[in-house]
Symmetry: D2
Subunit: 339 residues, 4 copies
C-alpha cells in the first residue's frame, strides 16, 4: 500500500523532498505537486516520474488521490496550507516554521484541537538524525547522569541577503531550540541573547553572530552560538553535560586525508549533505506513520512552543535583558509531544 503524497512548494527543499520520496522512501509516491512558479512545478513533477501539477494549492490538498501533504513553500504561506490540510483531515509534514509567529502557530494548534486529532508534523529533521538520536540514547541511559548544560553551535557558510537579523533566531536557531526541548524533555522558560562584535562581512544593522543563553523549567542551561556567515563550512555541534559525564556529537566525516602538511576532514558546505540521512529518515517515518494513521516527530505544539522561545530571544535581543518565554498551557492533545 503506497501513501500518495502531494507536495506544495518545489524550491530547493521541496524538490529534495520529491526526489527522496520518489527514490529512497519505501511505500510512498508523489502524486501531485504545486508551485507558484510553473517551471519549478513541472521539474518536480518530472522528478517524481510524472505527478499531477496543480495550479491551486488548496485543490492539491483536496485532491482525492492525495493521502498526505508536504508543505515546503515560503514561510509566510505555511499557516494557510497547514490549516487547509487540518481542515481536509489529511496528515501534513510542514517545513519549519509552522507559521511566522507563535500566535499564528497557536491558530494551527487550535484547529487541530478542534478536529480532535493530530495531523501536523513540523519538519524538525534533527530529531531523526542518527547522531542526535544516539546522543539522546546515551542521555536516556543515565550513564552521564542528570543534565546540567547543553552547548550548541550552529554555523552556516553564508546567509541569504534578503533575510533580516531576526532570522538568525527564528529560522536558524529555532532548530537548536527544538532539539534542546526534545533532548531534555523540558520546556525553556527564559532567554538571554548576547551579541558579540558582528562579523566585518555583514551589513551594519545585521547582528551576526548571536549567542543565546536559555534556561529550562528544571534549570538546565542551554547556550547556542548562531553564526551564519562562518565562511569555512556548515557546522553543527553539541555537547550535553550531565552530573557524571558528557556526550558530544562527532563531526560526521567519512574519511580523513593527509596531504601537504595537514591531516584533514571535510566540513559540509551546507545543511543538505549534513542532514541528508535525517531528511530521509524523517520522510520514511512520516510515511510509515501516515500509513497507519499515526503521527511522529515534532507536533504543532512543538512548532508553537519553539516559536515562542524564539520570540523571547528577539525580546531579549532588543531589550538587552533576560526575557521570559510566554506560552499557553499545553493542551492534553499534546501531552506526549516533546518525547
Amino acid at each position: 500500500m503506497t501513501v500518495q503524497i502531494g507536495v506544495i512548494g518545489c524550491g530547493m527543499m521541496g524538490l529534495d523532498h520529491v526526489r527522496t520520496l520518489t527514490a529512497a522512501v519505501s511505500g510512498a509516491g508523489v502524486a501531485a505537486v504545486f508551485d507558484a512558479d510553473e517551471e519549478r512545478a513541472a521539474r518536480a513533477a518530472s522528478a517524481a516520474g510524472g505527478a499531477r501539477v496543480h495550479t491551486d494549492p488548496v485543490e492539491l490538498v483536496r485532491d482525492a488521490g492525495v493521502d498526505a501533504v508536504v508543505v515546503a513553500s515560503p514561510d509566510q504561506t505555511h499557516e494557510e496550507f497547514a490549516m487547509a490540510c487540518v481542515e481536509a483531515g489529511k496528515p501534513v509534514l510542514c517545513e519549519k516554521p509552522l507559521a511566522t509567529t507563535s500566535e499564528a502557530c497557536w491558530r494551527v494548534v487550535e484547529a487541530e484541537m478542534c478536529g480532535g486529532r493530530r495531523l501536523v508534523q513540523v519538519g524538525y529533521m534533527r530529531r531523526f538524525d542518527p547522531a542526535y538520536l544516539e546522543m539522546k540514547r546515551v542521555f536516556d541511559s543515565g550513564e552521564i547522569g542528570d543534565a546540567l548544560m547543553l552547548h550548541s553551535v550552529h554555523r552556516n557558510v553564508d546567509y541569504p541577503p534578503s533575510l533580516p537579523a531576526s532570522a538568525l533566531v527564528t529560522a536558524t536557531g529555532v532548530h537548536d531550540i527544538d532539539i534542546a526541548r526534545w533532548l531534555l524533555r523540558e520546556e525553556i522558560v527564559s532567554a538571554t541573547v548576547h551579541t558579540p562584535r558582528p562579523s566585518g562581512r555583514v551589513r551594519p544593522d545585521f547582528q551576526d553572530p548571536q549567542f543565546l543563553v536559555l534556561q529550562t523549567e528544571g534549570g538546565v542551561l542551554i547556550d547556542v552560538e548562531i553564526f551564519v556567515n562562518a565562511q569555512y563550512g556548515y557546522d553543527v555541534r553539541g555537547e550535553l553535560v550531565g552530573e557524571r559525564g558528557s556526550v558530544s556529537l562527532v563531526p560526521p566525516a567519512a574519511v580523513s586525508t593527509r596531504r601537504a602538511g595537514m591531516e584533514g576532514q571535510a566540513v559540509a558546505p551546507d545543511f543538505r549533505p549534513r542532514f541528508q540521512d535525517a531528511y530521509r529518515a524523517e520522510l520514511q517515518a512520516w510515511v510509515d506513520a501516515c500509513a497507519v494513521g499515526e503521527t511522529c516527530g515534532a507536533s504543532a505544539w512543538d512548532g508553537y512552543t519553539s516559536a515562542a522561545v524564539a520570540e523571547a530571544c528577539l525580546r531579549s535581543l532588543s531589550s538587552g535583558r533576560t526575557a521570559p518565554v510566554e506560552v499557553k498551557p499545553r493542551p492534553t492533545l499534546y501531552t506526549e509531544s516533546a518525547t
Copy 2:
C-alpha cells in the same frame, strides 16, 4: 512501478534484506520467500507484510510474480540458485561468495556469457558504503597521487566455531580483496600469507589472525590483517597511500562520551550496524538497476576473480610461499565490471 522480489534463504542476512526491502527501499516489494526451515520462511513472509512462501527454491525463481531474486541461503547453494536465475533470465543479487570455489564461480560466468547479458550481482556491499565511496572519490580526484599501498584491517568479535580456518580468507578477507580491486581498478596477481602467533582463544589448528600481502598487476602492495576473534568489536579500517598523500576511513562514530576518566566512542559489535547504510544503498541501487534492466555493483566476474585471489592466499598459507593468482582472461562481457 514496483520491482517484485523473491528471497531465497531467510536466515539473519536474508531476513535483514527482507526487512530493508520492505521498509526502507523505494520501488521494491518482497513477493515471495523460501527457506529450508519453514518457520524462518514464515517469519520472513510476515516481515514482508505477507509474501508467498515457496517450498521449492527453483519454483520461486520461476514464479511469474517474481521479477528479481535475492540469494541469501547457505554458501554451498549459491551456485545452483544463481544459475537458476541466469537460466530464467532474472536479475539476481547473490550474497558473497558467488560459489564455493573459483571453478564453480566460473561456471556462473560461463552461464551468463551463454545468455549474453549480465544478470548477476554479488553482494559486496562495501562498494556502496559511504566511507569507501568517499575514499574512492578522493583517490580518483588525484589529490593523493598514484596508489602505492593499501592497508586494511578486518576484525570480528568472534567466529562461528563451525567454520574452518580457510574461511578467514574465503568468507571474511574476500571483502577486502574485492574492495581493493574496486578501489584500485587493478587486478591482484600474487598473494603471500603471514601467520602471527594464533590467539590463545582459538583451537590449535585454527590460524587466527592471518596477515595477507597481495600485489596488483601495477605493483600496488595491499596488506590485510584478518582477525576474527578480536573480542573488543567489529572493526574495519583502511588507508590508501599515494605518492603525495593518503586517505583513511574514519571510524563511524555518531557521538563521543566522556565518563569515568575516559573519552570514548562505541565500536560496533558486528558488521550489521557498521554496514547498515551500505546494505540499504546496495539494495536500492540494485532495485533501481533491475527496474531499467541494468546491473551495478560486483559482477559474476568480480565474484570469480576475488575467489581466485582467495585461493591463491590458501595456497600461500599452505606452502609458506608467495603464490600467483590464476585467472582466465576477462571476457568482454565484463570489461567494465571492476569500475
Copy 3:
C-alpha cells in the same frame, strides 16, 4: 651560571615546583625552602638534594644565597611574600592569585611601580602550554580572521570542600580569564554569570556549575563553563572563533585504546598531568629570564586585572545582571604585559 631559588610553601604545588626545578630545568638550583609545616619543608629540602630550611619566609627572601623566589604558599599569604620580594629587589614567581582581592593586587602593582622595575611573574602556566601557544600562533597568523568569540570549558573532578563557591571564579575561572586576555590581547570590560541547576553532588548553597559570559573592549564574546564537580575527569577545552575559521585545543591524548566495545582515550584526573609540560616550560622560561634580569609571562598588572574581572563576575553572580569590570588605567610599566 645557576639561578639559586628559594621556595615558600611546600604543599603539593610547591613540592612539584621543587622537583621540576631540581630535576628538569636547566640552570636552576633550589637553595632554600620554607613551609609553615616543618615536615613538608624537610621533605622539599630533601627533594631538592639538600636545600636550606628556613623557619621564617622573610628570612628566606633576604637570604643572600637566594637569587629568586617561588611563592606557592596559601593564597592569603601571596601578597605579603610577593611584596617582600619586590622590596628585596628579587624576582618572584607567585602562584595565582597574586593576592586575594584586586585591591590587594593593586598594592603589589604600586610597590613594583615604586621600585621602577618589574620583578613579579604570576603563575598563569597556560601561557606556556604548547596547545595554547599553538592556538595563539594560528590566531596571530591571521588565517582564521579577526576574533569574534572564545568558548572555554574548565572542569575538575571534584573540589576541596573548604572552598567557597566564589572560588569557582576567583581560583578556577581566573585561569580562563587570564588566557582569554592573553590570546586576544584585549581587556575584558563586562561580565554576566549564568547559573545552571547545581549538580546534585554539591551542598545547597554551592553554585556549581557556573557559566560566565564576558565581553572585551573590542566586543569579542567569551563564554566559560566552570564545573568543578564534573566527576569524569579534568578537562580544559577551548575554541577561538574568527571571521573565517576557528581553532580548537585538541585533547592531549598520547594513545588510543580499543577494548570491550569502545575506542577510548584517557582524560587526565587533575591539572598536574594536563599542564606538566606547561609548568616545566614556565619554570625554565622564568629561570632563563631571571638569569638575564628580565621578566616574562603574566605580570603583576595581569594578576590585578584578572582579579578585577573575577570580581565583576562575583558582582554579576550576586545581582543577576551584567556587571562592568572596574580597573584603574594601565601604568606605563606594563604596556607590553598582556602580549
Copy 4:
C-alpha cells in the same frame, strides 16, 4: 653536581643536542665540542655558552673535564668514537646506528664486555617518547592481552639523495625495529621485505616504499611501512594488537583548525618537532644516569641486535625470500637490556 659533556659531531643533530643539554636539561653542561668542520664546532661551542673546541675527537674523549660523551658524527665514525669512550671508561650516548654493520657493533659489545661494565647508550629516542611509553604502559598493564601483531608506519617528506636504498632499513626502519623489540620484550627472528611499486619521484634503482614483515621468537608479527618520499609530512604511527584489544599512537596535534571547508591538524615536517620531547627526555635520563654511574635506554646489545635484524631485511630484499636473523647469544652483561 653538573655532568660535563663533550659532544663529537656538531651537525644538525649534534647542535640540537648541544642546545638541549645547555638550555633544557638539568644537571648538565656542555664542556667541549669537536667537529671536522671548524665553523660548525665554533657555532656549537657558542651555543653551549662557551665550550672548549677540540681539534681531535680522541683528545675530547680523554679531556679530564669531560665526564661523558655524545657522539653525533657521521655514521661511519660511530664505532671508533664509541670504542674510544669505552676504553676511556666514560659513558657515551651514541646516535644510531652504533656502527655501520652488526659485525662492527659486536666489536663494541666485546669491548664493553672486556671492561666489565656498560657505558654505551644508543640514541634510540623513541624509547623516551611519551606516546610510546604510554603504549608500553597499556600493553604491560595486560588490558589488551598478549601481543599478536604490531603495525608500524614510518614516513618522511623526502630523503637525502646521497643515501642508498639500503638506508631505508638501516637508517630509518631500524627505529621501528628497535622500538618493536623494546615494546614486545622479544627478539626478532626472521624478516621478509615486500616491495611496492616505487614512487615515481625516486630514481629507478631506489626502492621506496619498502614493507617489512618481521616475526619474533614468540610469533608476534610486525609489519613496517617505510616510505621516505611521502611528501605530505613526517608521520610515525603504530598499533599494537593484543588478544583482547589494541593500543595505537595518537597523532600529536596540539590544535585543530577549521577553515575553507576543512577541519585539519598539522603533520610535522620532520622528525625534530615530532620527537623533540623524546630527545629532551632521553638526554635528561642519560645525564641523570651518568650522575649516578648507571645506564638507561638502548644498550650496545640493542644496537648490535637491531643492526642484525636490519641486515636480515637487506638479505630478504635481495633474495625475495624470508631471511633468518643471525645473532650471537646475548652476553650476561645485557640480560636486562631490552626492558
